[in-house]
């Protein structure tokens, strides 16, 4: 095995482990926002690492794999942001255990204050 193949194999194992952890996080997490965190961040790193590993194993495919990596690095955060925003606008607020208070959302207080100011004007 040459050095490129060893680097490619290590990247392949790292990527597949992170993809499995992303699927496990999707299954185990209790809330939509937690699922977004686990599912999007872990699979972004996993897919980028695995596709780069294939690019190292087959050096003539490197340019197209780099194109896929750049596209994943752009598209995955955008889609997770759009999903979180849409879920928030449907009034599905995040549930956080904070002492006795079961629901704590700092962003909602800010938006309600802004709405009250606009109503007073």
């Amino acid at each position: 095995m040459s050095a490129m193949e060893i680097i490619g194999a290590i990247l392949l194992l790292i990527g597949s482990a992170f993809l499995f952890l992303g699927g496990l996080g999707i299954y185990r997490m209790p809330d939509t926002y937690n699922r977004l965190q686990a599912g999007t961040k872990a699979t972004t790193l996993g897919a980028m690492s695995l596709i780069l590993g294939v690019g190292f194993l087959e050096p003539s495919w490197m340019i197209k794999t780099l194109i896929i990596i750049i596209f994943i690095a752009y598209s995955n955060p955008i889609s997770s942001h759009a999903l979180a925003r849409a879920n928030y606008k449907r009034k599905h607020f995040p549930l956080i255990l904070h002492g006795d208070v079961k629901e704590m959302d700092a962003y909602r207080e800010v938006t309600e204050k802004e709405e009250n100011k606009e109503e007073k004007k």
């Binding site: 597949s16 993809l19 499995f20 992303g22 695995l50 294939v54 896929i68 994943i72 889609s79």
Partner: protein, 85 residues
Amino acid sequence: MTTIIYIALILMAFGMLLSFIRFVKGPNTADRTVALDTLTTIGTAALVLLGYMFHRYIYVDVALIYAVLGFIGVIVIARYLEGAL
């Protein structure tokens, strides 16, 4: 080398299975859409790895198109949930 590819494929298959279970039984639409996004990303990586395994260059193009289409689908569903579509 073949052993490493099989280990990677088995791990990715378990990840796809777990997110597919969430896709089937998720409590509301946003959970299902998150699971669909994860399935699309794992599927893109699996297509590239299968292309290396079978020595077919065309699978990389298919993976690129699949990533684009999955991204557009998730964005459209998110806009629909937001009420802007």
